[in-house]
Subunit: 513 residues, 2 copies
Amino acid sequence: MNGADSLVHSLLRSGITTCFSNPGTSEMHFVAALDRIPGLHCVLGLFEGVVTGAADGYARMAGKPAATLLHCGPGLANGLANLHNARRAATPIVNIVGDQATYHRPLDAPLTADTEGWARGVSGWVRTAMDVRTVGADAAAAVQAAMTAPGQIATLILPSDTSWNEGGVVAEALPALPTPPVSPNQIEAAVTALRRGGAGVVLLLGGVGLHEEGLALAHRIAAATGCRVIAQGSNARMARGQGRLPVGRVPYVVDAAVKAMAGTTQLILAGSRKPITFFAYPNMVQTSVPEDAEVHILARPEQDIVEALARVADALGCPKVAAPDNGTRPEPGRGAPTPEAIAATLGALMPDGAVIADESVTFGRGFFAATQAAPPHDWLNVTGGAIGGGMPMATGAAIGAPGRRVINLQADGSAMYTVQALWTQAREKLDVITVLLSNRKYAILLGELANVGANPGRTALDMLDIGNPDIDWPRLAGSMGVEAARTDTAEGFADLLAHALKRSGPFLIELLI
Amino acid sequence: MNGADSLVHSLLRSGITTCFSNPGTSEMHFVAALDRIPGLHCVLGLFEGVVTGAADGYARMAGKPAATLLHCGPGLANGLANLHNARRAATPIVNIVGDQATYHRPLDAPLTADTEGWARGVSGWVRTAMDVRTVGADAAAAVQAAMTAPGQIATLILPSDTSWNEGGVVAEALPALPTPPVSPNQIEAAVTALRRGGAGVVLLLGGVGLHEEGLALAHRIAAATGCRVIAQGSNARMARGQGRLPVGRVPYVVDAAVKAMAGTTQLILAGSRKPITFFAYPNMVQTSVPEDAEVHILARPEQDIVEALARVADALGCPKVAAPDNGTRPEPGRGAPTPEAIAATLGALMPDGAVIADESVTFGRGFFAATQAAPPHDWLNVTGGAIGGGMPMATGAAIGAPGRRVINLQADGSAMYTVQALWTQAREKLDVITVLLSNRKYAILLGELANVGANPGRTALDMLDIGNPDIDWPRLAGSMGVEAARTDTAEGFADLLAHALKRSGPFLIELLI
C-alpha cells in the first residue's frame, strides 16, 4: 500500500468523513487514493479560502473535524485567513498540505515555499511527514491533536514521495487526550463571587458554555444569584431562540462595550477570555472591563465548561428553573430596510433549527434581540476578524448540519473575499440562503476613520467605497449557478425570504441597504 | 507630523507613486495621510491577492516598485500567493502592513497574528516599525531594499501607534545598493565555452537578459558562435515580436523539457538558474539538463546581465547583426478554437506594444511560436506556480504601462482564484482584454493524474472538474462592470478580439475550448 492509501484509511479510522479540497500536482496520489477507497465525501472549493472556511463551519456544526486538502505553500497561504478565524473559534480541522518530494525540496523549484513556517501561525500542531511508513500514524496523531480540547488546527504536510512510496501502514484512531480538570479552587472562587450576588457579578460565557446545556446552567445560576450572563464578542456557536436564555454579546464598538460591562465588580470567565478591544485607539481603554473588577477563571477554554457550571450550580444549590420565555415572535418588518426591520423579518420567518452564519458586520449589530423569540437555532460568528469567513462558513455548516436551513447574513465587502463559495453551494445543492447586505462600502472603516478623527476627502472615501462600479449580486450569483433576486424594501425582503425557504438549494437575496 | 504622514512623504521622496490597497482599521491614519498629501495614485482591490498581484504586474512594466497597503496578518496572508509569484519574478514591491498597536499586541486581540512570520517566506527584507521617529527612515530603507538587484519584496509592518503618534520625520531616498560586479572569471568561462562552438552550447537567459538589449546581444553571440539561446521556463518579462530574437522557453512538461535541452554540453546561465522540473515524479529526472553538461554562471540574477553579455560579445568579437526577421504575421485562425488557431489569431491581431499577461496554463503552451512575427510586445509569465496570478498581473501591468494594450491569456480555473481583479479593471477603466480560456476543468491536473499512473474514477474526476455548474463568464464579468461576450469558434474569437481592440476599457472574451 502506498502512503496516500494509508493516509486515507487512517483518516477514516479516526472518524474523518468529509474532505474539503482544492488539490494540485503534489496531491495526485492522494486524489487517486480517494478514488479507490470509499467513505470520504470530497467537496471541491475553487479557492482555498473557501476550503478552509467551509472546514470551520462544518466542524462547528458536526462537532468533529473535516480534513482539508491543500496544494503546497501558496495553496495553504490562500487558506490562512479563514484558518486564523477557525483558530480563534477553537475549531478542530485537519489540514493535509501536499508539498515537494523530500529530495526535490533542496532544488528550490518554483512552487517551493516555507509551508511549515506559514502553517505555524494558525496550527496547534504541525508535522511534515518524512517517511512513508509513518504517514498513517501521522494522520492519526493529526486527528487526535485537532480534537484536543477545546479544538485546534492540525496541519500535516505531505511531501509527494511519502504519498507515492510503497510501505504505508494504516493507523488506528488515537484516544482523545484528557481534558485538564477544573480545580476545586476555580469552583470555589466563582461560588464566592456569585454569593456576593447582584448585577455586579458577570458570568462571561464562551465556547461550549454557549451551547444549550451551558446556557441552561447559566440560566439557573442567574435566576438564583441575580448575576448577569453575557457572551464573548465573537463565538463559534451559540444556542439561541425560544427556550434558551437570551444572552447579549460584548459589543465591538468600544463605547458600547464599556457601557455593557459597566458596574462589573466580579467577572467570572467560563470558557471565555477577559474582553479586550478589537484594536487600540488613541486615548481609549483597551478593555471594557472596569479596572477594579476582580476576574475569576471558572473554566479555561480547554477545560470542561459545562461540568464547571454544573458544579457551581450545585454548590450554590440553584433550583431548577423553567426554560425562559423569550416573548412572542416579531411581525415581519415593513418599509425601509433598516436593521430593525430586517431583524424583525428574520425573527418572524427563520425556521426551527436554522443555522445563522453571521458576517453582517456593521449592519447586523442589532439582529440579536429581535431573534430571541424565534424557534431554536444556532448562531455562528466570524471569530478572528479576518473578513471573508461568512460564505465559506455557511457552506461548510450546511454540510455539517444536513437537513437544517443555513441563513448567511453577509456584508458585501466581506462577501467579495471568498465569493467562490457560491459555486460550491450550487454544486453541492446546499440549503443556504445568503442575505447579501449591499451597502456598497466598507461601512465599518468609515466608522474607524471617524474614530481616528479624520475628515475624509476623496482619496480616503474612494478606498472605502466599493460602489463604482456597483456589484450586481444577482448576476454574480447566477454566473455560478445560484438563483438570486434583489430588493430594497422590508416587504420585498420578507417575500423573498419566504420564497427561498420554500425551495431547496442555495438562494441569494441582495438587500440594498 | 504623525508617523503616517512621514511615511507617505518618505515613500514619495523615494519615488513611489502608486499604492495598491485594501486597508483596514489599523491603516486608517495612513488612509487619512493619503488624503492630505497628493501624489500617490491609490488603486483599490477587493481582495489582497488582487492587490499584491497587481503590484507585481505594475513593477514588471514600470521598472519600479508600487506600494501595497494591507491589513494585519490575515490581510497579508491573503496576498502571499501572489507575493510568492512576485518573489520568483524578482519583482520589487514595498508592502505596508498595518498591525495592532505595539502596546495592544500582547493582549492578543482577535486579529492578532504572526504577521512577521508570514511575511518572511516571501520577503527579502522585513521590518516592524517600533517608533514613530524612525518610520520615515524605515520607508526609505524598504524602497532601497525592494530596488536591490534583481529586485525583491520589502515588507514594512506598521503598528497603528507608530502611525498616529506625533514625531514623524520625513526621510530622503537612499541610494541604490551597488550591483555585485561580474568577475573576469565569469566572462572567461563563458567565452571559452562559446568558443567550443556549436549547438551543444546553450545560453540560458533570465531576468533583464530577456529584455530588448539583452536579446540583441544574445542574437549577436548566437550569430557568431552558433550557440542556442533559450529562455527560462517562466519569466517576469520577455521582449518579443518582430525584430526581437525569437527564443523558446524550457517547457513545463518533463519529457518536452528533456527534449529541448538534449545535446547540451555547455550551459551558460545569464540571469537564469539551472533548469529543474516543477515537481519530482517517480522514476523521472529532476533536471532537463544532460548529466554531463558543464554549467557556467555568466551572471547571477543580481549581477548586471546585459553588461556581462556585452563583455562576452566583445571578447568574442561578435559582429553587429541586423535585427532578426521573424517572418510574416499569421492570418487569423479558422474553425475550431484549437491552440494553433487561437495563437494565429493573436499573432495576426495583437497591436504594437501589447503586453501579454500569460496564465494560459495547458492551453497556451503553443502560443509562443505564432506570435513571434507580431509587432513588438512584452510577455509576462506567472513565475511561481501559484495560480491566480494572471488577472491581477494584467491589472497592474495596465497601470504600470499606460497607453499600452494588455491582453490577459487566462485559464478559467486560475481565473476564479482572483476574479475580483475584474472589478478593479472596471473601476480604473483599464485597457485589459481578458481571453478567458474556458475548458471547465483543471486540465493540468488531469495530465498530472495520468503522470502518476492513476486511472481516474468519479471522485477524482469530480475534484478536477470545475463544470457542474458551468461558470457563466460573461455574466460574472458583467456583474463587476466588465463588458464581455462568449464564442466557441476561431472566427468568433477573431471578431471579438478585433472589436475589443477598437474600444477602450476592459473587455472579457470567454472562449469555449
